[in-house]
């Protein structure tokens, strides 16, 4: 991959990394890991859209590292929609209505769909291609995620924190 070509993509890749990650430190780690992985797999690149390929690598790296950490999270519980309900939003009512706090409750799969469509501006078909799922899955995830966020922002969220025995 020519370095000038990747350089042009860096601002967009960084934006996507920040939208998936917990904070900017985390985002830089994700971005760097993505670049190293991409250069290692250069031989696998089949000549299609370079940016979409990089977005796919970053998405999967993010899923993998969160999956590794998720197994040992005693307090992690997901409802059927893959939202993290055992990590409640702050009791501060202002922050409860903050979209930033609500994003942290999304599963990585739901968050990726939302960011690819809303922030990165991909069509549903393009997002489906990057995530390697059917378009119907993109639509149902998007629907559930938007409703979940709307509920969070309206402040009608009540969660019980279940402690491990």
């Amino acid at each position: 991959m020519s370095e000038p070509a990747i350089l042009d993509l860096m601002p967009l890749l960084r934006r996507y990394a920040r939208s998936l990650a917990r904070d900017r430190f985390d985002a830089e780690d994700l971005l760097q890991d993505c670049l190293v992985t991409a250069y290692s797999r250069e031989d696998d690149w089949r000549g299609v859209n370079r940016k979409a390929w990089l977005m796919k690598i970053m998405t999967n790296l993010n899923f993998n590292r969160l999956r590794k950490n998720r197994k040992s999270r005693d307090l992690f519980e997901a409802d059927q929609d893959g939202h993290d309900i055992a990590h409640p939003a702050s009791p501060d009512p202002v922050e409860q209505r903050s979209l930033r706090a609500a994003l942290e409750l999304l599963s990585p799969e739901n968050r990726a769909v939302l960011m690819l469509v809303s922030v990165e501006g991909y069509s549903y078909a393009e997002a489906a291609e990057i995530l390697d799922v059917p378009v119907g899955t993109v639509m149902s995830r998007l629907s559930r995620t938007r409703k979940f966020l709307a509920g969070q922002l309206a402040g009608d969220n009540v969660f019980e924190l279940r402690r491990p025995e």
């Binding site: 934006r15 917990r22 250069y39 993998n64 005693d74 639509m139 629907s143």
Partner: protein
Amino acid sequence: MTGRLPEGIAEDDLHAYADGQLDPKRQAEVEAWLHAHPEWHDTVTGWQQQNDTLRAMFTAAANPDDAALIRTARKQAERHHTPDAQTGPGWRRIAAAVAIFVLGGLGGSAITARFLDNGPGLQTIAYLQTLPAAANAGYGIYASEVRHPVEVYADQKDHLVGWLGKRLGIHMQAPDLTKDGFDLVGGRLVPFAGKPGALLMYQDQTGARLTLLIGHNPDNENTGFRFSDAGKVQTFYWIDGEIGYALSGEITKPRLQNIADAVYRQIDAK
């Protein structure tokens, strides 16, 4: 839930409308329908506001070090294919310096300074990524034990570090964290990444505990500090030379960060 709504409009259409993905004719049809259905209109307006807020939160951003980051990534990927890892006193100095930058919380390009010279290759990244999960599990299982938190207690500290060091194949030290209020409780042998690992436990006056997971892999290379937040338990982790470290606890992040720094400095002082 998606499905058919009355009058031929599907929920998918409403999302597509909010995302500007409809052709003009269909867009006009949906817009007319929304004007006639105020509740759905409010819902869709809410989605558009979510979009606007997200776009304001996450913007494209170039970094002055981007060209260097790319060069470094390319070199790291290449070195994955070559047997010679580049370590040595020069890199240790840089690692120590940038670890302090990271711990000092400087933003922007200081964060990326860690990657501006030889950095971790793919194997190391994979090893690094297993640290927080294992550390979290170790903390979760052992920190709550009242009668058997450790296998060998601190009163046999020499035996403890000798035994664990032998199993891991390293010169082991149990860092002294008394200045940060934590006393060594003891340690145990644990499996980590398919090899023997060491889990040291510390405790302060309030009974709060920390665990320090230590693993050895000869293929490792230095990394910067990373932080993992798993809800209640937080972990700082890094690789220094051939050895991975993960410090876990339920104390505040700044306090945990100070202690991670103390651990790092003590080991670096060897």
